[in-house]
């Protein structure tokens, strides 16, 4: 299952800066292509959606398929005009949701 999200967001920035955000979450991303010892297909179980919000509004999101590697890594950009909170949300095929937040001070 998904666990231990790690996100890197700068602690501060100037208004109008475009910052880089790096995220990583632990997840097997079982593709549904593998078979177990008995030859049965191991069912797909992946994170299928990622969303980044800033002060409640969506900034960036992804629809993720089984071809994304295990422990999905996502790096993207955001323009910050004011201080606030980034919220990161990962959703699994079975509905499990993992969230984490990061603050940023914008001068």
């Amino acid at each position: 299952m998904a666990s231990k999200p790690r996100v890197k967001v700068p602690k501060s920035a100037s208004a109008g800066d475009i910052i880089s955000i790096k995220s990583l979450v632990t997840h097997t991303m079982e593709s549904g292509q593998r078979k177990d010892k008995e030859g049965n297909v191991i069912p797909r179980m992946i994170i299928n959606k990622f969303e980044c919000q800033f002060n409640g509004a969506t900034v960036f999101s992804c629809d993720i398929d089984a071809a994304v590697a295990a422990n999905p890594y996502l790096e993207f950009k955001a323009r910050v005009d004011e201080s606030g909170t980034f919220k990161f949300i990962w959703t699994d095929d079975d509905g499990t949701v993992i969230e984490t937040e990061k603050q940023i001070e914008v001068l």
């Binding site: 593998r34 078979k35 960036f60 629809d63 993720i64 071809a67 994304v68 590697a69 890594y73």
Partner: protein
């Protein structure tokens, strides 16, 4: 060039084969299946090139985790921004990889991730802009150890 040939092929044969190329009913994706997906994503717009750059290694040491990145030259203002970038793989069991959705608050239309590649194949990126225009870029990646765990 390659993509245009595939698109032409997809247009002449793709419609009749569309039913057969369902996501989970065949062993591996094909360039035609990817051309179908690209056409569906483009939703009627002609697929151009130039502003979108797909970065992928020429040779992937490990097909289980191949770093890829996309970047689109765009002002990312309310009137002119990149809405989505979809990635497809034409030799994986399933051609879909990921679709990035941007907003003007993204500041820049660039993103990277790591993907699985089952074997040597083309990775295709397609970007759709807020004005409906579509551009794409393709990279061929050689894979020595396939990454589908099979």
């Amino acid at each position: 060039m390659n993509l245009n040939r595939r698109q032409l092929l997809a247009q002449t044969v793709g419609l009749s084969l569309a039913g057969l190329f369902g996501a989970s009913t065949k062993a591996f994706a094909t360039p035609e299946a990817v051309a179908e997906s690209v056409a569906a994503f483009a939703d009627g717009s002609e697929v151009g090139s130039g502003s979108l750059k797909l970065t992928a290694p020429e040779i992937a040491e490990n097909g289980n985790s191949v770093p890829i990145a996309i970047s689109v030259d765009s002002p990312m203002t309310e009137d002119n921004y990149v809405k989505s970038v979809a990635l497809y793989a034409d030799g994986n069991p399933n051609p879909d990889v990921i679709t990035f959705h941007f907003t003007p608050a993204s500041g820049a239309a660039s993103a990277s991730t790591r993907m699985r590649l089952a074997k040597t194949q083309n990775v295709v990126a397609v970007a759709k802009m807020s004005d409906g225009s579509v551009v794409s870029d393709t990279r061929n990646v050689k894979v020595t150890i396939g990454g589908c765990g099979g």
